[in-house]
Symmetry: C3
């Protein structure tokens, strides 16, 4: 069985597994606490030791469900790295509700969200806390104050961001002592804007690894009927044969992991078979021509 | 009555009042010199001590009209901070005129424009001189030479820019000893591109305050009949009630001033009642959810 | 006759002639080796001592043809600066070919491409080697390793890039000891995006000169029938009269060379008469208003 390696996320940063198990859909996996624990142990055994959460996933319920599983075997905590995120204040929409979902990166908001995540997960410390979405009202000094307090109290070891532009990243980094350890970004064959818009250039420059989310485009790769996705499916299948891959998923993970910013990839499935498939992708050797074939299939034009 | 505070514009920069009286429409206010002086004294009394001019406003006539008022009571000069701008060479269009309006940031052009502004205003020194528009022909070394000369001769205390992109700002800053003290940018509920495109991130990073121009979108907020502006009017009215504001103007100023780059806002009205209304906006407390409600009304979609 | 001057390309960089003879169309000039040598001597005599090549031009054949001419008079080598480029792996398309053209900036790829260019040109050293196109798979460390090796072996003196965005430039520069000596970019009256998108701001900031390619938009300036190009032709002709230029070409070169990033301009013609015309453009004095008239003709709107 393939073993997923651990990689350094940033200078002085933590080590994460090159594939990270995302738990945003945990609420829909229909697993009892024991089944959740089993799933967790299975992916740890493969070397997938890093897990990704956020306060907003099912309004905190995903963290609660995960915490219940952890409680069944507290020795697991030491074997994993837990990432969570803060900052989206969801507000249920209704015909009469005038208020809107928004972001909150106030110091008080960050501290409260983190306390809630720790409580729900039933742990004392997060390995990393990420800003979930760029908040146009982000006061970088306030965020830095909150991060310092969480670091000093031992509640969070490392800090990062998600979906940040380069200028947002520079701004926040300018107020922090330690390097941000990641920018978690959308990266899949349908949308890989971050490859060309400077986001991944910035990370490569600072030797900070991105975490790639929505690697399979939320499933659109398999089902969408646009010309773009049809071209992509044909090319990915063809590459699957050339590379001896078992599935299109594997080709996609290999494609993402080949990027020189050295991403780690988030998995969203609760199906252990598909997790194993993904892990096997790490052994595939894709060359540059094959990588660009996906680029061409996605864009519908040749490279300039 | 509310008193408008003074705020530091940048490290080692000047202090400006948090609301700045803009004089670009002075020519249309139909005031004699005494009325202009009265208006000026009234806003100084509120704490609005900073005034904004530019060489191009009515081809210099606005500066001349302001200078006439100042001459009636020269003691006023010490109570105010005067900002002016250079760099747009307007050319009247006509059927036979082939020449076009253009920018001039040559050293000779900067020195000449500044002399003319000083002469028209009847003062010895500007508190700040801004580049009015980015000039694609800007030779940053020449601009720096002009700035140094104006600084040494005591004709200008501080320097800034207007409508600059982040790369233009970086370029000019790289040639200067002192920090640029502002980037004056368009910022209103219809157009707030600077919030997301990096412009305000850069300023926040360097602790330089933007000056927000066109806060009321040239009046379009009150009159335009687009779907966007209709949504905005409804949301701003609703917020006005929640916040206990007297007018939509106040809600808009509160919305702009809430941004963490700490803008100062330009007023364009010659109606002292509306100036007072704006000053009262400084006491309004808008929360993040309310700020994003304007974002949502403007964009027509929820935040991601 | 006008003499083209040499200019410093970057701090510690090489000196290139302000006009550079491009050889990408050499294969279509229908010259025997002696005619090629004559052409080369003629432009050297004018002061155009820098020549521009790339591994991809006619799949290497342009370098071979140039090398044949050099071999007829090896003393020429010391009188010129040779630029070449690497990184595009062209793949002939056919009905059955599934592979696509792509980029290669692997260390092995860079070393092999450079060896091939040296062999075809019949020289021991390139004055400058450029990355031809940004490779989304560029591992900046590998590129730096290759550059160091080529520098130490004496095979290449200086390094630069072409068509790079600002973040790609920053990334690669961050791994190199010496400054990149240029970014070769498209710059003509139809497409001058680099003037506003930060590319030339970055170069001016670092005092690195761009090399302008496609100055005449591949001839589209003379032949295209779009409204934009019709406006441009009318304005360029009018400016030609005002400036006493012999041709529209000259006006365009003067327009490009006026940019404060101090570009050097690439010529693509094999017609020595047109090369002479271009050299004469260096004596034209275009003012800012005239420069912006081309801007306005291209954009179809006045400056803001």
């Amino acid at each position: 069985m393939s073993t997923v390696n651990k990689v350094l996320m940033a200078p002085d940063g933590p080590e994460f597994s090159q594939l990270v198990q995302g738990y945003w859909r945990l609420g829909s996996w229909d697993m009892d606490a024991q089944a959740r624990l089993t799933f967790l142990k299975q992916h740890i055994e493969m070397g997938i030791s890093t897990v990704d959460h956020a306060a907003i996933y099912d309004a905190g319920h995903c963290e609660t469900l995960f915490g219940e599983a952890l409680k069944l075997d507290p020795s697991i905590r030491e074997q994993i790295e837990i990432v969570s995120k803060f900052g989206i204040n969801g507000i249920a929409t209704s015909a009469t509700e005038k208020r809107v979902s928004h972001y909150d990166s106030s110091k008080a908001g960050i501290l409260a969200s983190t306390e809630n995540s720790l409580r729900r997960l039933g742990v004392e410390q997060l390995d990393a806390l990420l800003v979930h979405r760029p908040d146009f009202l982000m006061d970088a000094d306030q965020v830095a104050e909150a991060f310092n307090e969480l670091k000093q109290s031992g509640k969070v070891k490392h800090f990062g961001v998600s979906n940040f532009t380069t200028s947002q990243f520079d701004l926040l980094q300018s107020r922090l002592d330690a390097p941000l350890i990641t920018n978690q970004v959308e990266f899949n064959p349908i949308n890989f804007d971050v490859v060309a818009d400077g986001t991944l250039d910035q990370l490569q420059q600072h030797r900070v690894r991105p975490m790639a989310w929505s690697c399979l485009a939320g499933g659109a790769i398999f089902s969408a009927q646009t010309e773009q996705v049809k071209r992509l499916r044909a090319t990915l299948s063809e590459l699957g044969e050339e590379l001896g891959a078992d599935s299109i998923d594997q080709v996609i993970y290999a494609w993402i992991l080949k990027h020189p910013s050295n991403p780690v990839a988030l998995l969203g499935t609760g199906n252990i078979k598909r997790v194993k498939d993904a892990a096997a992708a790490l052994t595939l050797k894709m060359n540059a021509e094959q990588w660009y074939r996906v680029w061409v299939a996605s864009k519908g034009v040749n490279v300039p």
